[in-house]
Symmetry: C2
Subunit: 144 residues, 2 copies
DNA sequence: TATCTTGTTGGAAAAATTACAAGAAGATTT
DNA sequence: AAATCTTCTTGTAATTTTTCCAACAAGATA
């Protein structure tokens, strides 16, 4: 078992999730690709390792991960959900042009983090910046 | 013309959007209902006023509003987009149980607000807390 | 009025997500 | 080890959400 697979396996145990081969492979993928993949992307990639994998399993598994805090469901893009295997606090930047989601280290997030907002119990804090990424900026400059 | 319709009309002009009757009615609805409605909800409601309204128009219009900053597109719920006509900075709380989106005044947001994150040009800042709302908390208590 | 541009409509298509029932795998009991 | 029970996975079909597109309507310009 590779160290990455072991890492995924252990995280599943820690989160109280039974580590089936499908679940371990999916988490392993998330832990090694910090690209905020969509369900479809996870499915297609893990299919290489498990050719019998079903898209329903991917949906079920990722929802389970989100519930058990093994991964975070990001609802940033306006037409698809994506997932983040990094569960330590950080923010995101979303490029409205190319659709990429980029990690943003954000120290201030621990100050924002609170258990209670107006009497409502908080379990997750999502901070997302939206705009035009560096790459897309320079591309639209060179065109004009 | 009611004061609310006038208000919607003026906001459209300010944002550089031609104020057709459909657009005005849709913005009027957003300005008078701070419930973060989905496209479907906007459609059904405005249909009372404009019986020939098409769902495509609602999609087109709300996307336009979002582009021209007349409203904000919220991608909080995992299976539907919703819209917010209040464009002054504030945060949101999303209840994972009942799905409601509640406004949260957040003074700190102006501190977070920045034009540039890691070289990327920022035009919107989204801060969203997720968890269990007060109402759902007390309901699950009384059941146990 | 004629022409041009912009906005709206409806229906059909595409894409994303969920439901569900059957089968497989793993754990537990006898 | 066989029988039983539970949990997980699969595939298909259905549902829901969103977009596409072509025709029509309305408003602006000349």
């Amino acid at each position: 078992m590779t160290s990455l697979k072991k890492q995924a396996y252990n995280k599943l145990i820690d989160c109280g999730i039974k580590p089936s081969s499908q679940r371990t492979a999916i988490l392993e993928y998330l832990l090694s690709h910090h690209t905020h993949p969509t369900v479809e992307e996870v499915y297609k990639s893990v299919l290489n390792e498990i050719p019998t994998l079903s898209i329903t399993t991917v949906y079920n598994t990722l929802r389970l991960f989100s519930e058990k805090q093994a991964a975070t469901m990001l609802t940033i893009d306006d037409h698809r959900i994506c997932y983040d295997g990094v569960t330590t606090p950080h923010a995101h930047f979303y490029c409205k042009q190319c659709g990429r989601v980029i990690d943003v280290p954000y120290e201030g997030l621990s100050d924002i983090q609170t258990d209670n907002v107006m009497g409502n119990q908080v379990t997750e804090v999502h901070l997302c910046f939206k705009g035009l990424c560096q790459k897309c900026q320079s591309q639209s400059e060179s065109q004009s």
